[in-house]
Symmetry: C2
DNA sequence: GCTACTCCGTTCGCTGCCGTACATACAGCA
DNA sequence: TGCTGTATGTACGGCAGCGAACGGAGTAGC
């Protein structure tokens, strides 16, 4: 199976040839479908995933409230971080919202491989660091930024991960992601459409003007993007 | 220097005797004073800290806004996590808000020790996991919970870390921590005082009724406490 | 005892989002 | 063609928190 750009995951692609080959032998490509729930809160983690052109949302549950997306994983990262930290139970839910491909490895294989492969360790540790910075950023974002800016941010982040300007997402779903009412999304999305930044109809969203949408998004988008790009490896 | 309860840091106390002795040789006790800034955003990390009865707030900066406390470190954890992940630059600021003691180790010593000491690795990795869960929780908390509940939460968290019901904190400072106006803190704190849960005067806060304050806090307090207590080590 | 400063209390109008409810529009299917 | 379910639009009262401003009360220094 040739590794063309569409198949690339950053944590794997950064491995040198021989390491990469060994890891590859333990990986299997899987197709992730919209709505697949890869992890559930409190459940054991059976596989780790390295997305290539799919996007998975990480959700927390807040007692008495709706769920909330705290992070988003794509080709820049992986799912199953707790395994790399010695914990085999997921503290969050993981929901596929951008259908696509990912590489998958069993928890046992990952455990073995991770012990041996110091370069994989280095990449994963680096990603854990990035994730923590992003979580802190998101905590502040949720406190300070308005719905419209946050909506723009998440749409751009999804675009970057699925590598497409077309997203499959209803307003209701976006409401659950952002932790706001569906009505709030309608208004924010309407404002963005008004400015010809996006278009949408019945669950199909298109980003028409990327730079414009970036300008409408809060600075968290840029910050988050920078975090994952400045790999000093 | 004898290790009595007041001197205990969870990550160190969980080490077996011989490991502990070797680590101890590289540690030095330091007194942290109110207002000390241990790390600054973007600066190199020169030491790691293992607090015992001090409390340090982790702050992010959000462009155009005030700072915000996203986490709090005390005897349950450590400062300098990025070093354990191969990054030697702090992505956040760390501000001492509960004066007290901590054990300190130079970055170089920590680097060496961390490579060798797999038990320390295990403890630190476990703490990193806890911290990530807590960050996600805080992101949701900032989105959903009201000022009064969040204030109660942070006060309780500080109490647990400094091991004292007396806190040294002005309302203005609390406003910066919570990301709200000072006036917002005045109102929330007034409501808590009304219910005889706390008392305060000119920067000295006393928790009068712990259980009552817990009831007034959002569920995030309990969740956060559970995270750090359920060590299956 | 006077002054300067810090900390806390209160008020006012404003706005972003909430909860709820209802209306419209499109899609698939019988 | 009509039915049903889903997706989106709109409206309305309510409220938590905002920004700004001012007043009062305790503390420290002179």
């Amino acid at each position: 199976m040739p590794l063309v750009c569409q198949d690339a995951n950053n944590l794997l692609a950064a491995l040198p040839g021989n390491d990469y080959q060994r890891v590859l032998a333990r990986l299997e490509p899987v197709t992730l479908h919209f709505g697949d729930e890869l992890y559930q809160f409190g459940q054991a983690i059976d596989h780790v995933y390295f997305p290539t052109n799919s996007q998975i949302s990480i959700l927390t549950l807040s007692e008495g409230h709706q769920s909330l997306v705290v992070s988003m994983v794509g080709h820049e990262g992986m799912l199953g971080i707790p395994l790399a930290l010695g914990v085999n139970e997921s503290p969050v839910s993981a929901l596929v919202q951008g259908a696509g491909m990912a590489w998958r490895m069993s928890a046992a294989h990952f455990h073995d491989e991770f012990q041996l492969n110091t370069l994989l360790q280095r990449n994963v540790h680096r990603y854990i660091h990035e994730l923590m910075v992003e979580l802190a950023q998101t905590a502040a974002c949720n406190r300070f930024h308005h719905v419209e800016a946050r909506l723009a941010r998440w749409l751009l982040m999804m675009r970057d991960r699925v590598r497409s300007n077309k997203l499959h997402l209803t307003q209701d779903l976006l409401g659950h992601m952002l932790g706001v009412r569906r009505v709030g999304v309608t208004q924010a999305a309407g404002a963005l459409r008004e400015r010809k930044l996006i278009s949408y109809s019945r669950g199909e969203i298109s980003i028409l003007d990327g730079p414009g949408l970036e300008a409408a998004a809060c600075s968290c988008y840029r910050i988050s993007k920078n975090i994952h790009e400045q790999h000093p490896i």
